[in-house]
Each structure stands twice: as structure tokens, then as C-alpha cells.
Symmetry: C2
Subunit: 311 residues, 2 copies
């Protein structure tokens, strides 16, 4: 499969120096989109993506980890001859770090501590937990879920994974197929939602799932807001059905001013900034370099998109 000439890689919508270096490091040469490239590395949004790709393009690299917009806009379907890859996994470590932050701040009651203005350890003792010896249910084990598992292991927590097929995930003490997900709600101590947003995962967690969880459970969502039924979550947090939630994504998003989630102390909100620009660009450059190397060597890129699966 290795071609005899260097792979010709176009970069759009504009060519930043970091990506030119990535092409060269990966063993390719940069060319313009109208110069018969073998592949296109995209660094922008779906709104400005070219309506028509040159027939020479065999591979397109997209900068998002979740590509539901590219699918629903029909961009991927319009080019069936092309292999599309996402950035799934590229931002995995930084987002997984954010998840660990939410889990630790939750079990250690940091929101309540930050609100305190007096030295009252006895008030906190009954609420203080640890990840050591705890089990964390990880719903969806793409790059983020897989990056999370060793971080949790280092803290002494065990991962219970949920995947579509139930095929064992390395490092997880048990992997459940999605059909058996209901077994997990009363079983795991805490939950991290890291599943792609698809029609199958919409409102995966509603009133019934929340009421099955332990009252000490923290629920973390860094995937997409619509995986959780927000009204049911507000109700559960208000009534103490679960201990709390750490949300980097919400539904609706942006979360409107005055929304009840802003005023619940056991709701930690970060405004979809778990993967901020300063951390995002170098991570995407690294992913692009790896995938160009793979493409130039005739290997399949990482994170090939399966349009039927939706990610």
C-alpha cells in the first residue's frame, strides 16, 4: 500500500505553520486543495467545509472528536469514496483529566468546602469519600473513556465499562454491553458519561436511571448535554437522589442565565471548556502527525468515522 511518492496533503481552511510541520513530520508534502491532494486535513468548522472535494482525495481528517454535525449536514455521506477520520482520542487525555477533577472534587466535597467560612471538620466528615476502592461506571469507552481508566487506576478506583458490544475494555474490571446498562446504575459508585451523541444515546440518563444510582454517587458528563434529561437531573440534585454532578456540557447549551443548575451547590458547571483552545491545538497537531504517518505508510488512520454508528 505504501505509495512511491510522498503523500500530498492539503490543509484547510488555512495553512497554519504547526500543521505544515505536522505534514512534513508525518512524511507528506503540503499542496493546495486544487493541486490533486491525496488527503485533506481540516482545522475549521463544518460550515466552511468545501462543497465538492477533488476526486484525488482519498482521506479527510476532521478536527472534532464528536462529528454528529458533519453527519447530519450530509457532508460525509456526499463523499462515499473518501475515508473520514475524526479527532476522537486526540483530546482524550485532557478531557479525562477534567473528569478526574470533577470526580475528586465531588467525593471530597470541594463545593461545600469552598462555600464554608468557618473551620468545622465535623460537618464534613459524614460526606467525605474517596475514589480509592470505589467503582466508576464509564459509559462509552472511546478515546476519553480509555484515557480515564489508567488515571482512575492510579487513584485506586476500578472502572466498569459500558460499550455497544460488551467486548472487554483493557483495564476495566468488567465491561457491560449496552443492553445490560441498567445493571450498572445501582452497582457503580460514580459515573462518567463519555459516549457519543447519537439517536441511541439521547436522554440515556433520566429519572429512572438517576433513582437507581447510589445516593453518594457523583455523575460526570463531558460528552454531550442531551445524554442526560436535564429536568430529571435538577430534580435528583435538589432532592439528594444522588450526591452531585459535574457537567462540562448541558442541555440546553449554553446553559441560560438563571437556570436552576447554576444555583445548586452540588452541580459543578464548566462551560464546555474541558478542552480549551490552548490545549486543543497542540493535541490536534499531534493527532494529525500520527494519522499522516499512518496514511503515508498505507495504514488506516486512527478514529475512522463509521457513518452508520454515528461516530
Amino acid at each position: 500500500m505504501t505509495s512511491e511518492r510522498p503523500s500530498r496533503i492539503a490543509v484547510g481552511p488555512s495553512l497554519e505553520p504547526a500543521f505544515a510541520r505536522a505534514v512534513t513530520s508525518g512524511g507528506g508534502t503540503v499542496c493546495a486543495l486544487d493541486e490533486c491532494p491525496d488527503a485533506l486535513v481540516w482545522t475549521g468548522g463544518h460550515e466552511t467545509f468545501p462543497a465538492v472535494l477533488p476526486a484525488s482525495v482519498r482521506w479527510v481528517q476532521l478536527p472534532a472528536a464528536g462529528v454528529e454535525n458533519w453527519l447530519t449536514e450530509g457532508i460525509i455521506k456526499a463523499h462515499p469514496q473518501v475515508t473520514w477520520s475524526s479527532a476522537a482520542g486526540a483530546y482524550a487525555a485532557t478531557v479525562a483529566e477534567h473528569e478526574v477533577m470533577f470526580l475528586l472534587a465531588g467525593v471530597r466535597a470541594l463545593p461545600d468546602h469552598l462555600a464554608a467560612t468557618s473551620w468545622t471538620p465535623g460537618d464534613f466528615y459524614p460526606r467525605l469519600g474517596t475514589l480509592r476502592g470505589a467503582t466508576v461506571g464509564i459509559i462509552g469507552t472511546g478515546g476519553i473513556g480509555r484515557a480515564l481508566i489508567p488515571m482512575l487506576a492510579a487513584l485506586g478506583a476500578q472502572s466498569l465499562a459500558v460499550t455497544r458490544t460488551g467486548r472487554p475494555v483493557p483495564g476495566a474490571v468488567e465491561t457491560f454491553p449496552v443492553e445490560r446498562i441498567d445493571e450498572l446504575w445501582p452497582l457503580a459508585d460514580h459515573f462518567v458519561i463519555a459516549a457519543p451523541a447519537t439517536s441511541e444515546t439521547e436522554r440515556l440518563i433520566g429519572a429512572e436511571e438517576l433513582s437507581s444510582m447510589k445516593p453518594t454517587a457523583w455523575l460526570v458528563n463531558v460528552a454531550r448535554g442531551n445524554l442526560i434529561d436535564t429536568d430529571a437531573l435538577v430534580d435528583a440534585l435538589t432532592r439528594g437522589t444522588i450526591a452531585g454532578a459535574g457537567l462540562d456540557v448541558t442541555d440546553p447549551e449554553p446553559l441560560p442565565d438563571g437556570h436552576p443548575l447554576w444555583s445548586l451547590r452540588n452541580a459543578m458547571i464548566t462551560p464546555h471548556d474541558s478542552n480549551p483552545p490552548a490545549l486543543r491545538v497542540p493535541a490536534y497537531v499531534e493527532h494529525v502527525t500520527e494519522n499522516i504517518t499512518r496514511f503515508a505508510s498505507g495504514l488506516e488512520p486512527l478514529a475512522v468515522i463509521d457513518p452508520r454508528a454515528g461516530y
Copy 2:
């Protein structure tokens, strides 16, 4: 060295069932303090410790990780024929977890996020960091420091250790002897204070040290409050000399109501509850079991106290 009869272990001030089981699991037999025990496992404070120990006692296990009170009260000096061991290391993992919580909440700007009532990611972007690729200076690498290193490694952070001798600490990318500690202040991205409280470490960190640190640095103290000059810290936090602090210990402690640290948003205070009772007892039982096993086998117990070093 293995004795021909089981080691006779007294437990005081009272015998809880968990400790009776620890003695048995460790290969010893429980006896009373007036029945010629070989060793005493203490589960209380220094105030109620026996003034005189039976001459048969060769080893005493204390329940604290920091034993400065036992030293200054002369309890240890009064029994020079005895090997004394502390609980240093026993609570290491749970305290190290607390440190990781502080560091992550700091670099991810959680205190500012929790104060927000509007969805403004752009306000946070310039302040958001990561432990991935960062260096953490660990001052003191007893049990807690050593437990912290692999947790940081799993998050992609590198540890720079400071010890008395500078002998390389496993897992640290570099170990500095305490004489070279000033090199560390501008070098490391963040700091964790995990040193014992001795006359040498009192006010280890003052105005000069704080002003040498990076303005993005987070400083975590879970050791003893007097290792930091509190007034200098308040000044540094107010002026933004460093990014913030996570404090499980303070000076004075308890921190009085109305103290400026309570109202600084970049000061995260937990009231010396990083090792709460619910987590402490099982950890001490585990440590006692290990040390009884070692004692019964003729091995030196873990965490033998060196009165000259002060821990």
C-alpha cells in the same frame, strides 16, 4: 530473629475488635499491658499514653503520621530501649488523593467556575491549565510524597522531589537535596508540601519563596500549617504572585472565623479533613497488620521514628 512463641501484642488505650483482628492476622496474640507484652499498638492520643511501659516492651506503634507532639512531650525519649514506629505512610494514599484534587481543581480553575452564574467559556480560557506535561515540586517525600508520584504520572505530570539527602526518589524525574531547594521555586509549575513539621521546616515558604514561583503556580499544603508563612501567603494570593493555594492545614489552626484566607477565592480551604475518620481507621488497621507481621518475623517495622530527625 523469629521468636519461638507468637509475639504478644497489647493494644491501648482500649481494644477495638478491628485491632484484635489485626494482631491475629499479623501472627501475634493479644495480651494486656500488664501481661508482659512484646509490643504495644496505640490507637489514641499522646495525652493518655502510659507514663511507664513494661520492660518487656520492645516496640511501640503510634497512630499518627506526624509525631512531633510525642517527641516534644518527651514520651519517646523516656523509653530509649524501645523501637518506635509512626503511621507515616499509612494514610499516604488518601492524603495524596486530596493533593491531586487540589492541584486539578486549581489548574482547571474550579473555584472560579463554581462562582460563575453565566456561560462564559472565553472568560476561563486564559486561566485554564493542565497537569499534563507540568512539573510538580514535592517538598518531602515520605509516604505521602511517594504515594503522590504515581498518581501524578498517570495524569502526565512529572515530579521534582526534595529530600534531606537528595538521594534519587523512585519515579521523580529529579531529586534535589534540601540545600538546593531554592532552585526549585522558579522551576516547578506547582508545589505540594508534604514535609514533616520540624524546626528546620518551619516557615519553609515565605515571601521570598512565593515571589520566586511562577504566577501560574498552585501551592498545596497537607502537611502542617507552620511550613508556610501565612501572612506572606495571603499577600501573594491577594496580589496574584501565584495562582492559588489548596490548604488542608493552616497556621493558625483552626483558622479563625473572619481570617482573610476564608474570603480569597484562590484559597481552597479544607479543615484538616484530608484523612477523615471513616478513611483513617481502616488504613491504620492495615498498617498495624503489616507491622505486626514484620515484628513477628523479626523485621524492622515500617516508619521507624528517628528522634534526631524529628519524624
